[in-house]
């Protein structure tokens, strides 16, 4: 009974947060700036174009009403039309989102072993030279901003050892091989950035588990080192690993913004940058809301997973 109550509570909180985000986003671009139309048109504004834009965006209506219209649309999947291309936002989003999903998926798959293996090695060989060595490497990689890392990888694998393309432009007609070539550098960059962050936290977490009373007890009742690690220690690292992964997913959404730019990958991230540059209001609202939604859902899954996996909430 308690488990379900906890889960429902989490879902409720997640929905509440998402709703607050929608308010924040809307307020940021449509309410607070004041003269929205003037902003968008900038120096090209004429009284007629301003009036037309105001009419189009319904800027004369009260803010609450405009918010409600937009929000209702969102609930139905209708984010309005892009200001620049006049196409429905959802359509433009759809293509880009799919691309980014593929990129993220590959990055994620690469990240898992890249994070787990060093963390395990570090935890088991604590305080020895390999532990220190890996720590130094992760520190340096951590301190390299993602766009810089991407650029360095670019320089290495496109210029010094020219095996990969400099840009990752893919279209609907690109072949599988072209996809692989295009995805490699951006996916690897993302994977490495996520992995170095996770390795440190996983190491700390594994060490904490290995120092627990019950691990000591397992050892003192004669369990082999292998059994202690696999049967007693690792399962208790699952929950924190979930949390770390959720956080990484959160990073991923933000990270694609800049990585896609570096490699000119036609995804969700570069869409956001472009729309901010031209102040395409409906586009901005949609992309920011979507980013937050992904983060919230990812965290929700991690939380629910943690609840379901928590042995203290289990009944026999």
């Amino acid at each position: 009974m308690t488990v379900w109550r906890l889960i429902i509570g989490r879902v409720f909180t997640a929905l509440l947060t998402l709703w607050l985000v929608s308010i924040i986003v809307f307020a940021a671009v449509e309410v607070l700036p004041g003269d929205v139309a003037g902003r968008i048109l900038g120096r090209n504004a004429t009284p007629e174009s301003l009036a037309a834009l105001r009419l189009k965006l319904n800027l004369d209506a009260p803010a609450l009403e405009r918010y409600w219209d937009w929000f209702r649309g969102v609930l139905h999947g209708d984010f309005g039309s892009a200001l620049t291309s006049k196409r429905p936002v959802s359509q433009i989003l759809a293509d880009r989102v799919v691309n980014t999903l593929i990129l993220s998926g590959v990055a994620f798959l690469l990240y898992i072993p890249l994070a787990l293996i060093p963390a395990l090695i570090q935890a088991v060989r604590r305080d020895r030279s390999i532990d220190h060595g890996i720590s130094i490497v992760t520190l340096i990689l951590l301190s390299t901003p993602d766009f810089l890392l991407a650029t360095f990888l670019l320089i290495t694998f496109v210029i010094f050892i020219p095996i990969l393309p400099a840009v990752s432009v893919v279209t609907a007609t690109s072949s599988f091989g072209e996809w692989v070539m295009a995805l490699t550098l951006p996916a690897v960059t993302l994977a490495v950035v996520m992995a170095v962050y996770a390795v440190r936290m996983l190491r700390d977490n594994l060490i904490e588990v290995l120092d627990s009373d019950y691990i000591r007890m397992a050892e003192l009742k004669g369990m082999s080192a292998r059994r202690v690690l696999l049967r007693h220690a690792l399962p208790n690292s699952l929950i924190p690993t979930l949390n770390i992964t959720a956080l990484n997913l959160g990073y991923l959404i933000g990270g694609v913004v800049i990585i896609e730019r570096v490699f000119a990958f036609p995804g969700f991230g570069s869409l956001l940058v472009d729309s901010v540059q031209v102040l395409d209001i409906p586009m901005i609202e949609a992309t920011v809301l979507l980013s937050a939604a992904v983060y919230i859902v990812a965290n929700l899954f991690a939380d629910v997973g943690a609840i379901l996996l928590n042995p203290r909430l289990r009944k026999s």
């Binding site: 509570g9 604590r126 305080d127 627990s212 009373d213 019950y214 000591r216 007890m217 397992a218 050892e219 003192l220 009742k221 004669g222 369990m223 082999s224 080192a225 059994r227 049967r231 007693h232 399962p235 208790n236 042995p311 203290r312 289990r314 009944k315 026999s316």
Partner: protein
Amino acid sequence: MRVATDPVIAVEELDFAYRTSGQWVTVLKGVSVHIEKGEVLGLVGESGCGKSTLAYTLLSYLRSNARIDNGKVLFGGLNLLDLQRSELDQLRGVQISLVPQNPTTALSPHIRVGQQIGEVLVQHDFLQDKSVIDERIQELFSLVELPNPDALALRYPHQLSGGQQQRVCIAMALACDPNLLILDEPTTGLDVTTQSQIIALLIRLRKQLGMCMLYVTHDLGVLAQIADRVGVMYAGYMVEVAPLDRLFDTPRHPYTKGLIGSVPDVDIRKRMSQSLKGLLQRDKLPVGCPFQPRCDHEDATCREMPQTLEIVSDGHQVACQRWRSIEPGVPVDLTDAEWSTAPGDRSLLALDNVSLRYSADTLFSSVFGRSSIPVVRQVSLSLRRSETLALVGESGSGKSTIAKAVAGILPPLTGIIEFDETGLAGDIRRRTAEQRKNIQFIFQNPDASLNPRSSIEQILSRPLVKFFGLSNSELHDAIDDSLASVKLDSTYRARYPDELSGGERQRVAIARALAARPKLLLCDEILSALDVSVQANIISLLRQLQTENEIAMLFISHDLAVVRNLAHRVAVLYDGELMETGQVEALFSPPFHPYTHVLLLAVPSIYNRRASNVPARTEIVGTAAGKGCAFAGRCPWQLGEVCTQEDPPWRQNGQSNWIRCHHPLEELSKRATWHLQLNGTGKPG
């Protein structure tokens, strides 16, 4: 150092150190001890003496920052310290097993308890066939008296009570019929009644199975129930080894005498004067005898000469070169003539029909929360000036909650609290400054009750400034006086809490409370986190302060022995309800409330050794709370249906003693047995 017969395990000249924050600390120095077949060796000492480390060394369990400088651990012809992990894996759990201190954290939270035993059997090739394994698990569970073995094996650790978890750990340790059982303070975290049941179980098992044991504890009373021989440790040294009776009747080492003298006993009242003076200071240990700085019998060479165990008599050794010139035995004062503050007449504190519930904090629970049963129900108490009223009970009895209500942390649900014959507001913010000054609280944990970022001077100045508006010049002297009253010198002013020991911190907390010159001190288990000898000093300090300052105390404790040595009156609580109240001496003589009787029987006493009067195993049956007696379902003298249906009446026993029971007082007197075990005289046997 000759060894009697062929011992099961022997430690020779062990030197053990480990590194913390870059420094090497010696934990064991030249320790030698052995355990014979079938015997129980007790290891006793206070915090930092190294007893737990020694126990774990018998399993060759060393952290990576530990170092063995010297010594051997001989078992079955091998030196355990030389063995590799894989060899040790074959030894641990099979020939030597451990029963841990904290069973709740020692059991893996994600594995069912049956499986945790099963894997021991499988790993050690003890049994292979699955059905045979299941049978063995059932057998073990029955051996440790766990009910419904088949259902229990499927449970997770958090679904079991503390006592049940420890039984599982014991079963796990016995799974492969070990030769040696090592028990590291196995009952420390448990209630006193649960503790006595576990000890009784261990005594039975030992008779049945005949394995030898190493029993580590800080509790001399527990030792007196189970040990054959005892080793006393101090600051990493073994200072005395003796058979049990010899140790308690004629202890030779000054530390042992002081330790025994410090332990408050439930059977008699002691003077409790400074039995052990001073404190252990690890960084200032002399080259010779470690106890020398605190010893009353030292001579010129004690400081320089390393002490070795000398033979006093058969099986009795002591590491003190002066033992021949020191009187054996522990002086015990049986009168309490020196300590009798006469309580005043007027009522200082009165609780009338008070019920309490934990506060609901979050938004959610205030919207969705259901009404729950109050944790304290209809309690009425009174306290006079200069009087100490002890609130006694086990965990969940509500005693701390009552203290919090009087303090103003938790407003009462129903009922009235009066102080100095005026009503006391439930919430601290609505009380007068005078009331806040007159009621002071001292917490259990000295680590948490002092601000780590404030100096002692700053900590003590706050109440002085707040309640008396002292100026800076006046403060200086006032703080010195404050420190002196708790026997700390003025060098403590500039220090910070993390530089002080637990006992010193608790003294500062007391000084802080007294600085306000209160009329009432609320002491919430203030001794529980302290070593035995430190407790003794604080008890004698409190007595003195009460006499000097005419302060009343509401003393919360689970320890009946302490209560007997400190309180004028006692109230016994069970599950939020009062069971018995009265003068302290009346509490310790018949008639007893059934619960009081159970508690008394459960307290291990060093004068009542190897007691066989174990209270009957009682299952906790859920009671319809709010109706009937709270103790029904667990009561060994339960009358029947009436106990769960009707609230028991209060029966007056003498002038100011009350017992709440359906049994008439004569019946309770008839059934009482506790007072008889002391040869009928109430004096140590």
